[in-house]
Symmetry: C2
Subunit: 220 residues, 2 copies
């Protein structure tokens, strides 16, 4: 008998408000793990209280997800996705131009798209009633749409960003999902089809179910 590999650990929240369910970033790691059929455990924190100080030596920003695989601890969704990708070529081609195309798009999801998406969601979800919100949002909308259009253009005639399905698609599709309260993705049919293509994967659905299953009932 071979000894089973230890189950990795993903940190997540034990409850978030309705608007955030399905958007918390541990979903990205759960999705990758489900794609390769690797079982894992979740370690849950309260989103309603500061993370314990001891957590900061693992995740310096106090956010989720962080990740542990045996003694190895890492943080940042992108780093964790890369780590998993290097272990299984269903998530990341092992070398050459295909690997670097996927890694380029992985960074693009976070560096060239997510920040602009987050501005819109921040205005919509956290500053909706502020008198300055409409103008500030409008000033950010153009660049967000430009980023979406660039991704849509790059996807023209392709199922996935970098040839085969990869960690880049896990990153980009979950970034796009932060706009689910708007019609922005729908303005680019190529992008909407791409997002739907990812979200119909059985591994995505399993990951989503697992995130929801970790939420305790809303406190009274």
């Amino acid at each position: 008998m071979t000894e089973a590999a230890p189950r990795p650990v993903v940190t997540a929240f034990d409850w978030v408000p309705e608007f955030a369910r399905g958007l918390v970033r541990d979903l990205r790691i759960r999705w990758a793990l489900e794609e390769i059929g690797r079982e894992y455990d979740s370690e849950l924190f309260s989103a309603r209280a500061p993370r314990p100080d001891s957590y900061l030596s693992w995740q310096p920003f106090g956010q989720v997800p962080a990740f542990a695989d045996g003694d190895l601890k890492l943080f940042e969704t992108g780093a964790i996705l890369l780590y998993l990708g290097e272990q299984d070529e269903r998530l990341l081609p092992p070398d050459g131009p295909a690997r670097w195309a996927a890694i380029s798009w992985l960074f693009a999801a976070f560096s060239s798209v997510e920040g602009y998406v987050q501005r819109i969601t921040s205005y919509d979800l956290f500053h909706k009633d502020k008198p300055w919100q409409p103008e500030a949002r409008e000033a950010s909308l153009g660049i967000c749409k430009d980023k979406l259009k660039r991704v849509a253009d790059a996807l023209e005639g392709k199922d996935w960003l970098a040839g085969q399905f990869s960690i880049a698609d896990i990153a980009m599709i979950t970034v796009l999902n932060n706009l689910r309260h708007t019609d922005l993705v729908a303005e680019y049919p190529t992008l909407a089809e791409y997002k739907a293509r990812g979200e119909t994967r059985p591994a995505y659905k399993r990951a989503l179910d697992a995130q929801y299953a970790d939420f305790t009932p809303e406190p009274a």
Copy 2:
């Protein structure tokens, strides 16, 4: 005689306004290349005109830098830094926890810090005179400061983010430099010292000189 490795190519701009000099992201790649003493060529584009359509198949967002090493083309600063890091352990430890600490911080610079820094710089540089700017900026300031404090806390007692100097420091220090028009970094002495520590490295100075040397005189 061994054949010399081909010189890699970094794309950059042939001119930017004063406020952007030293901040254009090709600096990050130049810095990494200077750290390992690898000669390179720059391929310049005009920042005052859209990038040619042909460039979009290399850099889908039309931004700089993109990077080519022989036949291999990649894009996104983070991906290019990782690529260079994998070639030289002066930029990235080759394996184990040290490698993953540096990669975690590399992603952190872009995903957990840069987006919040960019909101402040966007308000300050592009929306300074808008009537809604003061309130919108104020609403973004708290989270930006929180991110800076977290990085400062993580640097306590350390010279660099992940043990040895690495691509994570190139990323973080150049991200922080986007706040050079403010006193925000100075509010965290650990962070200010860290930034100065990076910017006194000879490779940083050579990279900066090279970026400036590529700028043509301002048009009449």
